[in-house]
C-alpha cells in the first residue's frame, strides 16, 4: 500500500474508532460550524461590513471587549493573590477556598446571573448601601464587569496554581543570598517566572468573558447602545429573522475568540522557547 496511515500498533480497532470519532465530530461540530460561515458568506461584502460595523454593534463591541478586558485584568491581579495564598500559606479554610474557586465552573450561569442581580439592584443586598453612595451597579457596565469577574476567576487561579507550585525555591534563595530584598525577589524573580501562566490565565478569562451570556443578561439591563453585549445582539437579530446579520456578528466574535486562543499558543510557544534557549 502506497499510503501507510497508521503505524504498527498491535492494538485493535483503529479504523473503527477513528472513523467514529471523525463522523461524530463532523456531524455535531464541523458541519454546523461550516453552515455558519456559509450563511455569513451569503451576504455581499458591503452588507456584511455594514452589519458588523453598525453604530449599535460598535457600541456592543466596546462594551463586551472593554468590560471583558477590565474583568480579566482584575482577575489577573486578585487571582494572583488567591493563587499565591493557596499555594504558599497554610491557614484554616484553605482547602475549602481551594474547592470553592471552581464554583463559577459548576454553577449554571443563569443562577449566578440572577443571584448577582439580586445583590446589586437598587434595593438588593448590597445595592441598597451602594446606591446612596452614588454607585450604580445593576444595569450598568460596572455590573456587567462584576459578572465577568465572577465567571473568569477560576481560569486565572487554576492556571497560576501549578506554576506557583513548580517555582524553584533555590532561585529565591539565591536572590536573597545575593542581597535582594523580598520585594525585589518577588517582582524581579518570581513574577517573570510565572508570567506565562499569568498571561495565559488572563487570556482564558478574557476569551470566556467575551462570549459570556447567561450571567450577564440579567444584570446588564440590555439597553441598546449602553448595556447591550454582542451575544445579546446576536439573539436580537435572530428574533428579528435577520439570520445573515446574526451570522455575520457571530463570525466576528468567533474570529475574535480564535485570535485570543492563538495568542495564548504563541505566548506559550514563545516562553517555552526562551526557557529552552536559556537552559
Amino acid at each position: 500500500m502506497a499510503f501507510k496511515f497508521k503505524s504498527h500498533s498491535v492494538l485493535p480497532g483503529f479504523g473503527l474508532t477513528l472513523g467514529y470519532t471523525i463522523t461524530y465530530l463532523s456531524l455535531i461540530v464541523l458541519i454546523p460550524l461550516a453552515a455558519l460561515f456559509l450563511k455569513s458568506a451569503s451576504l455581499p461584502w458591503e452588507r456584511f461590513w455594514q452589519a458588523v460595523t453598525d453604530p449599535r454593534v460598535m457600541a456592543s463591541y466596546r462594551l463586551t471587549f472593554g468590560a471583558s478586558f477590565v474583568a480579566a485584568l482584575i482577575n489577573a491581579l486578585l487571582g494572583f493573590v488567591v493563587a499565591w495564598t493557596l499555594v504558599r500559606y497554610r491557614f484554616p479554610g484553605r482547602k475549602f477556598i481551594d474547592a470553592i474557586v471552581d464554583l463559577p465552573f459548576a454553577l449554571p450561569t443563569a443562577v449566578s446571573g440572577i443571584a448577582l442581580t439580586a445583590i446589586f439592584t437598587r434595593n438588593g443586598w448590597l445595592g441598597q448601601y451602594l446606591e446612596p453612595l452614588g454607585i450604580k451597579v445593576a444595569f450598568t457596565p460596572l455590573g456587567i464587569t462584576i459578572a465577568l469577574i465572577f465567571i473568569g476567576l477560576p481560569f486565572v487561579v487554576r492556571t497560576l496554581q501549578p506554576a506557583l507550585e513548580e517555582l524553584d525555591g533555590e532561585l529565591e534563595e539565591a536572590a536573597a543570598s545575593l542581597g535582594a530584598s523580598r520585594w525585589t525577589t518577588f517582582h524581579r524573580v518570581l513574577v517573570p517566572t510565572v508570567m506565562p501562566a499569568l498571561t495565559t490565565g488572563f487570556a482564558l478569562a478574557f476569551a470566556r468573558a467575551v462570549g459570556e451570556y447567561g450571567s450577564v443578561v440579567f444584570i446588564s439591563g440590555n439597553m441598546p447602545m449602553r448595556t447591550e453585549i454582542t451575544s445579546l445582539l446576536i439573539i436580537t437579530k435572530l428574533e428579528q429573522y435577520d439570520f445573515a446579520g446574526a451570522s455575520a456578528l457571530a463570525v466576528v466574535m468567533l474570529l475574535a475568540s480564535f485570535t485570543i486562543l492563538l495568542a495564548i499558543n504563541v505566548i506559550q510557544w514563545h516562553y517555552s522557547r526562551r526557557i529552552r534557549g536559556a537552559a
Partner: protein, 295 residues
C-alpha cells in the same frame, strides 16, 4: 487541583523564603474576602431568596406543572447528551492515544473547539442548519420534522456545549499511561474488547467519572445555547435554567430562586465530587506510573 500539603513544603518549597507575618495575614484576608464576596455570597443569596417565604413558599413553587416539565426536559437533555459524549470520549481517546497517525494534534484541537465557541453561537449554528430559513429547514418542514424550538434542538445544543468534556479528561491520562498493559493483555490471548474492559477501563475509571460529572453539570446548567434553540415555549421547551429566566422576568422571585436552588445544589454536589475525584485521579496516575508494587 492543588494537593500541596504540608508534606510538600519539604521539597521545592524548602528554599522558598517565608513572607513576613503581616504580609501573610493581609494577603489571606484579601483573598478570603474576595472569594467570600464574589463567590460565596451569591451562592448564599440563592438559598436565602428561595426560602424568603419559608418552607411552604419553597414547596409551593413546585406546584407549577411548568416547573416539573422543565425538570423533566433538563433530565432528558442530560440523559441523552451525557451518554453520547461519554461513548465519544472513550472511542476518540482510544483512537488518539493508542495509535499514531498524521493530523492527530489537529484532531485534538478540533475536539476542543466547542469550548472556544460562545454559548449563543453554539445555539445559532443549529438554527442555521435546522431552522425554517436554515439549510435543511425546507426539507424538514416537508417531512413535518421539527428540530428547532423543540426538544431535538435542545438536545443537539446540549451535546455541542458538552462535547469535549469526557474526551479531554481521558486523552492526557491515557497518553501518560501508554499501552504496554494493553499489549501484555493481548499477547496473553485477550481479545480487543476484553482488553479494553479489563485493562483500560479500570485504569481510567476515575478520570472517566470526573469527565462525566463535569459534562453532566454543564448539560443540566447550560443556558445561552438552549435559549437560542428553544423558543422558550412555556411548559414545552423549557429546561430548568430557561424556566428560571421566565420566572425571574415575571417578577416571581421566590419561584425563580427555588428553581435556581436546585441548580445550585447540583453545582455544589458537582464541586464536592470534583474535589474528591481529582484526588483519586492523581492517586491512580501515580500508581500506574510508579507501578502497583512499589507503593
Amino acid at each position: 487541583m492543588s494537593t500541596a500539603t504540608n508534606a510538600t513544603l519539604g521539597g521545592k518549597a524548602r528554599h522558598q523564603i517565608r513572607d513576613p507575618r503581616w504580609v501573610q495575614v493581609l494577603l489571606i484576608a484579601v483573598s478570603m474576602s474576595f472569594v467570600g464576596v464574589l463567590l460565596l455570597f451569591p451562592l448564599m443569596v440563592v438559598f436565602i431568596e428561595a426560602f424568603r417565604d419559608g418552607w411552604s413558599g419553597y414547596i409551593a413553587s413546585f406546584e407549577d406543572p411548568a416547573a416539573w416539565q422543565a425538570i423533566k426536559l433538563t433530565l432528558i437533555a442530560a440523559g441523552i447528551s451525557v451518554p453520547l459524549n461519554l461513548v465519544f470520549g472513550l472511542i476518540s481517546a482510544w483512537a488518539i492515544t493508542k495509535f499514531d497517525f498524521p493530523g492527530k494534534s489537529l484532531l485534538i484541537s478540533l475536539i476542543d473547539l466547542p469550548f472556544a465557541i460562545s454559548p449563543v453561537i453554539s445555539g445559532l449554528i443549529y438554527v442555521l442548519m435546522f431552522g425554517l430559513q436554515g439549510w435543511l429547514g425546507p426539507w424538514l418542514k416537508e417531512h413535518d420534522i421539527q428540530i428547532i424550538f423543540a426538544v431535538p434542538g435542545i438536545v443537539l445544543a446540549t451535546i455541542f456545549v458538552t462535547f469535549p468534556f469526557v474526551a479531554r479528561e481521558l486523552i492526557p491520562l491515557m497518553q501518560e499511561q501508554g499501552n504496554e498493559e494493553e499489549q501484555a493483555a493481548l499477547s496473553l490471548g485477550a481479545n480487543g474488547w476484553q482488553t479494553f474492559r479489563r485493562v483500560t477501563l479500570p485504569n481510567i475509571k476515575w478520570a472517566l467519572l470526573y469527565g462525566v460529572i463535569l459534562c453532566n453539570a454543564r448539560a443540566m446548567g447550560e443556558f445561552g445555547a438552549v435559549a437560542v434553540v428553544s423558543g422558550s415555549i412555556r411548559g414545552r421547551t423549557n429546561t430548568l435554567p430557561l424556566h428560571v429566566e421566565i420566572l425571574y422576568n415575571e417578577y416571581n422571585a421566590v419561584a425563580a430562586f427555588t428553581m435556581a436552588s436546585l441548580l445550585a445544589l447540583l453545582g455544589l454536589v458537582t464541586l464536592a465530587a470534583k474535589t474528591y475525584l481529582e484526588w483519586r485521579v492523581k492517586q491512580q496516575l501515580r500508581q500506574t506510573l510508579v507501578g502497583p508494587f512499589e507503593t
